[in-house]
Amino acid sequence: MYNLVQHSQDYIRRSPFHTCFSIHYLPIIKPSSLHRLLRFLSPILLPSPFHKTLTLVSAMALNPSDQASTGMFFPTQTPGTVLCCTCGVVMAPNPANMCVKCLRSRVDITEGLPRQAVVNFCPDCSSYLQPPNKWLRFNLDSQELLHFLVKRLHTRFSRLVTLTHAEFMFTEPHSKRIKIRLRVRREVMNGAILEQPHIVEFVVHDKLCLSCSRLQANPDQWVAAVQLRQHVPHRRTFLFLEQLILRHGAATRAVRIADAPHGLDFFFASRSHAIRFVDFVNSVAPVQYRTDKQLVSHDPKSNVYNYKHTFSVEISPICREDLICLPPKVAHSLGNLGPLVICTKVSNSIVLMDPFTLRVAYLNATQYWSDPFRPLLSSRQLVEYSILDIEPESDIVTVGGSRYQLAYVQVARMSDFSNVFTVKTHLGHLLNVGDNALGYDLFGANPNDMEMDKYKGLVLPDCVLMKKSYEEVRARRSGKQRNFKLKRLDIEVEPTGGRKGEDDKRNDEYQKFIEDLEENPELRFNISLYKNDNYEPSEMGTSMADAEEIPSVPVEELVADLEGLDIGDGQDQE
């Protein structure tokens, strides 16, 4: 019966009364029972070095599969039965040698554990308070709420018991009580581990969180405001900015967004949110801004000052497709870039291109605002031309990320075919004879620019072509749905009163903006276009075959609109 594998008697004499020896033993020696013995006997027989050897050995004990592989014969050991020491019922032996019922009646491991607790809940934003002042949003009966509630209890019972399992018990949703059932485990007398369920009831107290109470007191209250302005007659920039803001979620913290002449106003509940928004705008547009603050209230005892902050952000008036005559200083600083340039792209820096030499220059915000200039002609003044003849001059080159080709064209204005101009253009790769193009009419224009006067002997071309025109094709297609749609920001519009023409102008601009998006893939880069569920592509087949395709957005770029989906919480969680 004794499974002695190796019997070594190397012992070290430490003192006349203490000897220690090592034994290699199988099977497991229960440390708990041995420890009880050692309490009585340790000074004489088993000093601490033996202790250590023994506990090490118990870790080395072989399990039945290993036992078989060593080749030794181990007889089967069926555990016997023993009477429970208190009630006398027959049971298998356990470390306490009492049946579970007696143990449970004797020891209540949930003694001292909290049975009731309080949790604060804000009915407006349905969030729970984590003291001292953090509010967290959870759905009822969710895993996160369970985790949160258990964590609230954890400090009070972690030193007594360990937690095995937790789950919700059913309570009526409006009863203001949340019940959870925990399974706790603790070691009782001599190493027996007892596990018991324990129910904790949370009483939910309603309390408005700080932000909701502030909102209730004054819904329009704001602490910081960002006034975004661009002094140009059109609102294309703001339409584009609106899509960018939606895509990046920069205005999620805004309390209110309002329309203003030449721009937009954003109101925030804290200065840091406003600064974050200003940083975002700074990264997508060439801006300069200044900040001011106004004292609202002042607590002299604790020296707390409450301010209202305003950020006045000005976006540069240069937009895409503008024709610009650079002031001499700026032209020199950019390496004598021909004074007439067009703006091809505006992000946080302005890309200027000379259409006749295809030279590109970049101006970032600080460079621009140190020496600001205004455009000569902007896209409102684009005139339609018809291409009569085209003669490419050079190859297609890629400049600044886009492809251009220098060409000589003969054009005439659509309104006035009597005058034919021969001009150089950078759109040689797009245009064919018979196409329509939009361009700036410098022949008929009367520029009133002080900068131009500074140039002596400047020869202006008759016309500068800007882009190909799809007006005719669009007119044929009028009324058809597009395969994408855009989301809009929730902007409060001032009641305009008598200015009826504004609405039509805004609609026109919006249509032009959408056409712009269709034509230019690089504009769509940072914008989310959502699939239009109402779009039926089969209708396109019935229209007459177009000689040229209308530019449209490929389906791969569209994003499915998820707002319509109703993703409910798992209702089977109890």
Partner: protein
């Protein structure tokens, strides 16, 4: 008949006393209550000796003995040895043992015929045990524990072993010892049987924490209920008296 008692508020009675069929050794306590219980039970029948061994009070665990002899560790002082020799009857051989494992009570469990010893006991000590105590010696372990003297207790009529002993081991031990064995506990679930109780053929002493269940197990396995004085007299009456007139 089993009695429940305490030594100075400690329920481990088997540590502080050694009971055999011919004598009883008891530790010297602060008050006389421990000794007086033994006295009241055993007064005229066997001598109850108050002693210390090696200057300690844990007399039950330091010595091993039965009706034939008593073995003491080498740490016993000469005075103690002399005192014990004086108090015990002459038939009992008192011998000091030169053994590395000096707590003989933990290493040896014996009755008047058989002894179980610690597997690592010296060969000379084994021979001495066989000689002095007049027993057959077996080296064994109980439920994987090598301290057989602590985890089992047996008299000539029955025995109680560690509760985790498997059924095969129980059978094996039972055949070796030739007495019925049962696995059980003492002192409300304590597994150290010999520390919690001490027993001879007609009486047993247990710690006061022993529950009624444990006590009934002890009384049944050691056959203590039949050993009432009245039962003996009834048997004798039946054999002495032929008929009633």
């Amino acid at each position: 008949m089993a009695t429940r008692l305490q030594f100075e508020n400690n329920c481990e009675v088997g540590v502080f006393s050694k009971l055999t069929n011919k004598y009883c050794l008891v530790a010297i306590g602060g008050s006389e209550s421990f000794y007086s219980v033994f006295e009241s039970e055993l007064a005229g029948v066997i001598p109850v000796v108050k002693t210390s061994i090696a200057g300690t009070r844990i007399v039950g665990r330091m010595c091993a003995g039965n009706k034939n002899g008593l073995l003491l560790p080498h740490t016993t002082t000469d005075q103690e040895l002399q005192h014990i020799r004086n108090c015990l009857p002459d038939e009992v051989v008192v011998q000091r043992v030169e053994e590395r494992l000096s707590a003989l009570g933990n290493c040896v469990a014996c009755n008047d015929h058989v002894a179980l010893t610690h597997p690592d006991l010296d060969r000379e000590t084994e021979e001495l045990i066989a000689d002095v105590l007049g027993v057959e010696v077996f080296r064994q372990t109980i439920a994987g524990n090598i301290l057989v003297g602590s985890y089992c207790v047996f008299s000539n009529r029955g025995g109680l072993v560690h509760p985790h002993t498997s059924i095969e081991d129980l059978d094996e031990l039972s055949t070796l010892l030739q007495v019925p064995l049962v696995a059980g506990t003492v002192n409300r679930g304590s597994e150290v049987i010999a520390g919690g109780m001490t027993v001879n053929d007609w009486t047993a002493f247990c710690g006061s924490d022993t529950t009624a269940t444990e006590l009934s197990v002890i009384e049944s396995v050691f056959k203590l209920r039949e050993a009432q004085p009245t039962a003996i007299v009834d048997e004798m009456r039946r054999s002495l008296i032929d008929t009633y007139v």
